[in-house]
């Protein structure tokens, strides 16, 4: 298996030996100029790239979300707190990419510490959607999705805590996969919410995203939550087809208020899957309505703890002040608004006297949501839903309305709460803007959702 051999050498975008047609110099020029998407926070020095010609990724450029620790480049998490931070060690996924012959093209923009759905919460400015520069690219892996959609790179890594790979992939018209929790090592992924975070892949096609996933997957002794499960061939899954596959349509993901044009595209996707040999039937996931509150209790609780280390003593740009307490306060004042909001929420829900009412309830709800999926997957192989209720929205539209922003993740957070794999694949456009369908699979069933996505992609390709 090789991304280069199978896909990219024949593509118009990359040639061999790691020099993209869009070379790093070219990307630098574009990103530094008036037309900049601000997709990258750092771009590698071409001189420093070693041209590999071995391994499945030989010479392929990969962009990394800037919360993945990388040697030789800064890792900022889109936060002024980690401005200029250089990790002395490298994430397991980066080691795997290098070992496979991949070249690290640069680090991509994100909502600060992954907290957001539009990449507007970056301390280094928002990323623009290459489809329409007045729109957000989604988030929090907006930089990675934009870089792939703009053709800077064919593949990128993101991270997905509540939809942060799938939603920007949908907004930018590319493919994004969030694997099962524990499938990819989190060692070196700077934590937002440890029990929900999972590194995912973004690719121009289902095959590319799947091949990259195959390379970064697998057990890692450095991550106690990574699973000792064999990794099947995701490449084979792409062309497996959906003959005999049972696809569930969860009614809770198609509420009455859903935009009819979104619904129409999903209906069309359904038809295409039926044409390809799948069977479709409705299912119910009754606890879906509790997912957003449940998610925001658990994610913020974990975030408040994970971000405690940025206190100016060892991490975080220290703001000098008289005395330790004041130094802590002054330094931590440097977090962005959304991060501060979530730290406060998380601190509150973990406080003694409130813990049971919030954290305890959320944990029980989480178990119920997982149970819903377990029941559904005893009847169907995969689930089909919209990735997000709307296509990309205009920059600035939801910045001042956090709840509206949170609701753009309404269909994606459940997969993180349950730990199941999810994927977003383009299924056409609404008003000229890309829309994504989400495929959810059972635990360790990435191959099923890849197969369904592969079939959908093939069906749309036939149209052109």
């Amino acid at each position: 298996m090789s991304i280069r051999d199978e896909v990219l050498s024949g593509s118009e975008i990359l040639d061999v030996r790691g020099s993209a047609v869009l070379s790093l110099d070219h990307i630098k020029e574009l990103e530094g100029g008036q037309e900049s998407l601000n997709a990258f926070l750092a771009i590698a020095d071409p001189e420093e790239l070693e041209p590999y010609d071995r391994g499945p990724l030989a010479g392929v450029m990969v962009a990394l979300k800037d919360n993945i620790c990388t040697k030789g480049l800064p890792t900022t998490c889109g936060s002024s707190m980690l401005k200029g931070y250089r990790s002395p060690y490298e994430a397991t996924v980066v080691k795997k990419l290098r070992r496979a012959g991949g070249l690290i093209a640069g680090k991509t923009n994100l909502d600060e510490f992954g907290m957001g759905s539009s990449t507007e919460n970056s301390a280094f400015g928002p990323t623009l959607n290459p489809v329409d520069r007045s729109l957000v690219p989604g988030g929090s892996s907006g930089g990675s999705a934009a870089a792939v959609a703009a053709g800077y790179v064919r593949v990128a890594l993101g991270s997905d805590t509540g939809g942060s790979v799938r939603q920007p992939a949908a907004f930018c018209g590319v493919v994004g996969i969030k694997p099962t929790y524990g499938r990819v090592s989190r060692y070196g992924l700077i934590a937002f919410a440890s029990s929900l975070d999972q590194i995912g892949t973004i690719g121009a096609t289902v095959l590319e995203a799947s091949l990259l996933l195959e390379i970064v997957s697998g057990y890692d002794a450095r991550d106690s939550t990574s699973a000792q499960k064999p990794v099947p061939s995701y490449k084979d899954a792409v062309v497996e087809g959906v003959e005999g596959m049972v696809i569930g349509i969860p009614t809770e993901y198609f509420p009455e208020q859903l935009d009819p044009s979104v619904r129409a595209l999903l209906d069309e996707a359904c038809e295409r899957l039926i044409d390809a040999g799948a069977e479709v039937r409705p299912v119910s996931l009754p606890h879906t309505e509790f997912a957003i509150p449940c998610y925001y209790v658990l994610a913020t609780a974990e975030a408040s703890s994970n971000l405690a280390r940025y206190d100016g003593v060892r991490f975080g740009v220290r703001v000098p002040a008289e005395g330790l307490e004041r130094m802590y306060e002054a330094t931590r004042g440097n977090f962005g608004t959304e991060v501060k909001r979530r730290i406060m929420l998380g601190t509150y829900v973990l406080s003694s006297g409130y813990y049971d009412a919030y954290y305890g309830t959320a944990q029980r709800t989480r178990a119920s949501i997982a149970h819903d999926f377990k029941a559904a997957f005893s009847e169907v192989d995969v689930l089909l839903t919209p990735t997000s209720p709307t296509p990309a929205f205009p920059l600035g539209e939801r910045v001042l309305d956090p709840v509206a922003m949170y609701l753009s993740d309404i269909f994606t957070v459940t997969a993180n709460l349950a730990g199941i794999p999810g994927l977003s694949v383009p299924i056409g456009t609404v008003g000229g803007l890309p829309l994504g369908a989400q495929l959810l699979g059972p635990w360790w069933g990435e191959n099923h959702i890849i197969a369904a996505a592969g079939a959908l992609e093939a069906s749309y390709k036939e149209d052109t």
């Binding site: 002395p88 440890s194 991550d223 405690a308 280390r309």
Partner: protein
């Protein structure tokens, strides 16, 4: 009406593991600051903890030594607070679901055999250390200690007297050393004690307001701090005031308790399950193996020594003070040395030698076989006991064989009756006054005269033969 004191303890014990609790750095002490650190124990962004199974076994043995109930599944939790020596901003510990609960520890206290209930034993990681003397006008942080494995032992409020607290802690320390769970070196902070203390009317069942004493690093310090705090609480209550809940820091140099700033103690630790680690699972086999590898504990060993070897209480207690000296003693007995003689040598000359050399029975270079041989030579009359003590010192310094040393140093006992008689006659001639006192019934003076013969002979005379000759000559004349 009299007052009753109620005391409960929280004891942090550093486990004797080779590596830290959640990373592969060595748990070393006394080395240069920040030389045993890695992304995990430095709390670098993105680094994740991985449990060291070695620590779990030691914690299991510790809990089992107190007869605790082991929980096959316990849960790691994060305890959050801000302090510069805590790199992640939280400590990984166990909270709602600890490794073990409900044990007891027996000890000899003011009322004879006493027991204290152990509420829980849980595992956690240690913090780093602040160094205030390395950098002018600033504090430095050493993270060598960060992430090393601890167990916290929490007692029920069963203790009533500061003196018993000290005796209890002594038994606890001895037990931990026996189990091999910790070196229990107080100066290095292997064992840290926090005490909760309150006072109530005798006979009352309701607990009074408690205060917590922290930062005590010696057992006698705990006793002194508690005595001081009891007097303060009683004085407060006697004057009609109420005791406020507070945390006090013990200052060992000034012998005083200082109130912690309100800010330092008003912590809400916001515990929640550690998402980076799955629950700690121990298997039945692991527990069985830990039980089987548990050594005989100090109190059992002490009473066995009294029963089997017919040792006096004091000797048995001294010998079982450490597993090492008890082992040493039993090795001597194993090579056919009379238990009482063996006890005398281990608690006497060997102990003196170890004190001088700052060694223990495990590290002292003179091993039991050598002392056994030396005792054999005494029994055969070849060397005197006093000469044998100097042989012991030479054995420790230079090694070698007892019989060779005795020969080289000319320490072979003189047993020739002719030679001994002439030394005895000389001594008697010089000490006519003592001879008269002896004959007047003061038999104790005999020891003095034997000593004189030993002196005159340069230590060579066989003291038993000299004694016999002295008696004989004094009763003849």
């Amino acid at each position: 009406m009299s007052w009753e004191t109620v005391i409960g303890l929280e004891i942090h014990v550093r486990l004797k593991t080779e590596h830290k609790l959640f990373c592969s750095d060595r748990a070393v002490f006394g080395s240069e600051p920040n030389t045993s650190i890695c992304p995990v124990c430095m709390g670098l962004p993105g680094a994740l903890p991985v449990l060291n199974p070695e620590a779990v076994n030691l914690a299991l043995q510790t809990a089992l030594a107190f007869g605790c109930t082991i929980h096959f599944e316990s849960v790691w939790a994060r305890k959050s607070y801000f302090y510069p020596d805590l790199p992640k901003g939280y400590q990984i510990t166990q909270f709602e679901h600890p490794l073990a609960t409900k044990g007891t520890l027996m000890f000899s206290g003011s009322e004879g055999d006493m027991s204290v209930s152990i509420r829980r034993v849980h595992m956690e990681e240690d913090a780093g250390k602040l160094l205030h003397d390395r950098v002018p006008r600033a504090s430095a942080i050493d993270l060598n200690r960060a992430g090393t494995a601890l167990v916290e032992i929490v007692t029920e409020p069963d203790l009533r007297m500061p003196a018993d607290v000290r005796l209890f802690l002594g038994e606890l320390k001895q037990t931990l050393e026996y189990v091999g769970a910790s070196d229990c070196n107080m100066e290095e902070g292997d064992l840290r004690v926090d005490a909760n203390i309150s006072v109530r009317r005798s006979g009352s069942l309701r607990l009074g307001n408690k205060t917590e004493i922290k930062n005590v690093n010696s057992f006698s310090g705990v006793e002194r701090a508690l005595s001081l705090e009891i007097s303060r609480q009683i004085a407060t209550l006697d004057s009609g005031d109420t005791v406020g809940q507070q945390t006090l820091l013990w200052d060992d140099h000034r012998e005083e308790l200082r109130e912690m700033r309100l800010k330092e103690e008003s912590h809400d630790y916001r515990y929640f399950p550690e998402p980076d680690l799955s629950p700690l699972k121990v298997t039945e086999e692991q527990v069985v193996a830990a039980i089987e590898s548990l050594p005989e504990l100090p109190r059992e060993r002490c009473s066995r020594f009294k029963d089997i070897y017919e040792l006096k209480d004091y000797d048995a207690e001294v010998l079982t003070q450490s597993a090492a000296s008890a082992d040493y003693f039993e090795e001597l007995v194993g090579i056919e040395i009379d238990p009482k003689v063996a006890a005398k040598w281990v608690t006497g000359p060997l102990q003196a030698l170890m004190n001088e050399r700052r060694e223990d029975a495990r590290t002292v270079p003179v091993r039991p076989a050598k002392i056994g041989a030396l005792i054999g030579l005494i029994e055969r009359g070849i060397v005197s006991e006093s000469a044998a003590k100097s042989v012991l010192v030479i054995l420790a310094q230079e090694g070698g064989n007892p019989s060779d040393i005795i020969e080289e140093q000319g320490l072979i006992q003189e047993r020739d009756i002719g030679q001994l008689t002439s030394w005895v006659t000389e001594v008697l001639a010089k000490h006519s006054e003592e001879v008269a006192r002896y004959r007047g019934g003061e038999s104790r003076i005999l020891g003095y005269l034997v000593g004189q013969v030993m002196n005159d002979s340069g230590g060579a005379a066989d003291p038993r033969l000299a004694r016999d000759l002295l008696i004989k000559q004094m009763s003849n004349e």
